[in-house]
């Protein structure tokens, strides 16, 4: 890297991928689309030195499921690349080929939110119990354990009150 990476250079560079805003002193948020996430990560990795993935966060927005890729580099600025996926067809390309640690985060997101990452070779259910139904994703907002739902002969009790 010849010139130091600052918030301004990142903003300028990432403008082509979508809306860029600075949400904190050292954190930048870029809103992009699922098709371009691969390019955005490649660019931020190669050009801006964002070489490590902190985590992939998932939020259920109701209509859409939002994925946030938090990356950080040696300059200690965090970039959050956000994409939104439609609820009825949550499919996005995997980034585990670019960022190796992403594979483990994608697996757990697949289990708990039902988002499919195309190209991830190991996309089978593991986090939940073996007999957990395949079409129930517990961290989605509209999921609640029914009072008479049984998993493996064990009743999942519904909590009274909260």
């Amino acid at each position: 890297m010849t010139r130091p990476v600052t918030v301004e250079t990142i903003t300028e560079r990432m403008k082509e991928f979508g809306v860029v805003e600075q949400v904190r002193k050292n954190r930048i948020r870029v809103k992009t689309v699922p098709d371009r996430i691969h390019d955005a990560i490649t660019t931020s990795q190669a050009m801006l030195g964002f070489d490590r993935l902190i985590t992939i966060s998932t939020v259920d927005n109701g209509e859409t499921l939002e994925l946030l890729y938090h990356l950080i580099g040696s300059h200690r600025i965090i970039i959050s690349l956000s994409i939104e996926l439609p609820r009825d067809k949550p499919v996005t390309p995997t980034v585990s080929d670019l960022l190796l640690p992403a594979g483990i985060y994608e697996r757990q997101i697949h289990d708990l939110f039902g988002i499919t990452f195309e190209g991830n070779p190991n996309m089978k259910k593991i986090i939940l119990n073996e007999d957990w139904p395949g079409d129930e994703f517990p961290l989605r907002k509209d999921w609640t354990p029914g009072p008479d739902v049984f998993y493996g002969g064990i009743r999942v009790e519904k909590r009274e009150g909260s």
Partner: protein, 372 residues
């Protein structure tokens, strides 16, 4: 030679925590490793969405019993930032003291467990004996040996009385002397050198590539510590050093942890001696405005990140917990390739795995056979 699958866990005499290893071995050499870690999955993230800020903190403390203060602090730190509260300096210092004492007890615990897995039980007994001094201090300050319950949104719940500060300062010299002894031991004790040197080697590039955090990364020469890079609590005011090492093996990780033990005693000493006067909390509003934050914290095992999104009510919309052990599993699976089966406990123990942290979500790691 045909590959053999060795399955270990979840309940096994050699394991202290529920985890399932499927080690695919070729003779004595490990080809790859599959991990199944979700035996402790409880669904804390879902429950956190249904509880208000007062009731969610004890829940988040119990994500993990060893780094309980970390989870509570990182969450309250994030919520306070969304609310725009500034925490009184005395509360910051008290949080720092508890955090560093927690790091001390966690590292002493780790040193003991690491010594235990190589059959060096004398050190195991020694570190756990010294750990009791830290535990006593924590119990005197917070009222519990493990779940301190010191945090609340807006400050801390308990003040430190002068008597407690005195008692803590009185215990420090003994600990410092013991820790000096451990530093010396790590560098000279033959038993440890033989089993730790060149075991589980990871270069700086690999540590970066596989996203290792905490002492595991710092042992490989990655100079990365959230306490310095994104200062929170009182770390910007306290003089201390980031410990790094270039060995990159289990020996290096031991050196980093023992070095951090020493730094922690110095931070605790500084904070206790320079404890500012004033209130210990501010009144926090019941609800938080809309917002989102990525709150980071250097837990004893590495960088802990909570992604918090609030929606204007007294509950969080979403809290996404990324625990340090989770980030380290990829690197440990890489370290294990081409090592001896007998070295599995040492290498796994070297990242200080905390499975109840990890298994709030779960992973199976897949390591390419070509690996490294």
């Amino acid at each position: 030679m045909p590959e053999v699958v060795v399955s270990i866990g979840p309940q096994h005499p050699a394991l202290k925590e529920p985890v399932n290893f499927k080690v695919i071995a070729d003779g004595e050499k490990i080809v790859r490793l599959e991990l199944d870690l979700s035996y402790n999955h409880r669904g804390i993230e879902k429950a956190a969405e249904q509880r208000n800020f007062i009731r969610v903190l004890p829940l988040l403390e119990r994500v993990c019993g060893i780094c309980s203060h970390s989870h509570a602090t990182v969450f309250s730190k994030g919520i306070e930032e969304i609310m725009g509260l500034s925490i009184p300096p005395r509360a910051q210092y008290i949080r720092t003291i508890i955090a560093e004492l927690e790091r001390m007890h966690s590292h002493l615990l780790w040193l003991g467990v690491a010594a235990h897995v190589i059959g060096f039980n004398t050190l195991f007994m020694w570190t756990w004996r010294d750990r009791e001094a830290v535990q006593d201090t924590l119990e005197e300050m917070s009222g519990n040996r493990v779940h301190y319950g010191m945090n609340e949104i807006g400050g801390v719940r308990r003040d430190l009385t002068p008597a407690q500060v005195e008692a803590a300062l009185a215990r420090l010299p003994v600990l410092e002397e013991r820790i000096k002894k451990y530093v010396e031991m790590v560098n000279s004790e033959e038993t440890m050198l033989i089993r730790f040197r060149d075991v589980g080697k990871m270069s700086r590039e690999e540590a970066l590539k596989y996203g290792a955090v905490g002492p595991t990364a710092r042992a490989s020469g990655v100079d990365y510590d959230v306490r310095r890079d994104d200062p929170y609590l009182a770390y910007a005011e306290v003089p201390w050093n980031v410990i790094t090492d270039t060995h990159g093996d289990v020996y290096g990780r031991t050196r980093v942890r023992v070095g951090e033990l020493w730094e922690s005693t110095q931070i605790v000493r500084y904070c206790l001696e320079n404890l500012p006067a004033g209130p210990i909390r501010v009144d926090a509003p019941k609800t938080a405005p809309k917002g989102e934050i990525l709150s980071r914290y250097e837990a004893p095992r590495g960088e802990l990140a909570h992604f918090i999104r609030t929606n204007g009510t007294d509950k969080v919309e979403r809290v996404d917990i990324r625990t340090p052990t989770l980030a380290n599993w990829t690197s440990v699976a890489v370290c294990l390739v081409n090592q001896n089966i007998a070295d599995i406990p040492v290498i796994v123990a070297a990242i200080d795995p905390c499975l109840s942290c990890t298994s709030r979500l779960t992973v199976v790691n897949r390591v390419d056979k070509v690996g490294r």
